[in-house]
């Protein structure tokens, strides 16, 4: 029996996901459908090799139709302590809650600001 090297697989998968998402970001003004294809591929790889797409990367595309967010295809408003992002391709509304900063975090931010 041949054994899979899962660690190596996941390492390569991570690199591929970051490449694809960067490419999607570059391509979204040239060819929107192609940018969506890159996001789709990145998601497929992430699902197959059980890799999380980080929070920052996740918020760059629509969860439902996978089109990358583009300023002319999106509406953003802040309401009831959450950011609401409406995708104009599919109409899906994503709500991101805004929580008050914890005291420990705010201390850190203050320290950084002082420096």
């Amino acid at each position: 029996m041949l054994r899979r090297e899962k660690r190596l697989e996941r390492k390569i998968a991570k690199e591929r996901i970051s490449i694809l998402l960067n490419m999607a970001d570059k391509m979204k003004f040239e060819d929107y459908a192609l940018a969506r294809r890159y996001v789709e591929l990145a998601k497929k790889i992430a699902m197959r090799y059980r890799i999380r797409i980080s929070k920052d990367q996740k918020r760059n595309f629509c969860k439902k139709c996978l089109y990358p967010y583009r300023h002319d295809r999106v509406r953003v408003r802040v309401r009831k302590s959450r950011v609401m992002i409406t995708c104009l391709n599919c109409g899906f509304i994503r709500r991101i809650p805004i929580r008050p900063i914890k005291s420990s975090q705010s201390k850190k931010i203050n320290e950084v600001n002082k420096k």
């Binding site: 041949l2 899979r4 490449i19």
Partner: protein, 100 residues
């Protein structure tokens, strides 16, 4: 970019790489040069100077520039779905090296 071995091309991302068709049963395809734009199980889409060209993977040989190396890759070795190629490609490398 941490995984540096050139044979990992079989498992790695082809979108965004520079590719040239070196051998093909169709003589008009030989010499096509461009950047890979899209990939499916059986085809690569290249952006060349004359526009987008779709080339089948099976039966062709490609010349690729990958992380500083210039490699010749047989298309039959990458004829899997792009997301499946990580698993299958690494298996192919292992089989070729003879680790049973």
């Amino acid at each position: 970019m941490k995984s540096m071995k050139p044979e990992y091309i079989l498992a790695h991302e082809w979108i965004g790489l520079e590719v040239e068709v070196v051998y093909s049963p169709n003589q008009y395809e030989v010499g096509l040069k461009g950047i890979v734009i899209n990939e499916t199980m059986n085809t690569l889409t290249l952006r060349t100077e004359e526009g987008y060209k779709i080339v089948a993977k099976r039966g062709r040989t490609f010349k690729v520039r990958f992380k500083g190396y210039v490699l010749r890759v047989k298309g039959d070795l990458i004829a899997f779905r792009p997301e499946e190629r990580i698993k299958r490609g690494l298996m192919l490398i292992k089989k070729a090296k003879g680790w049973w």
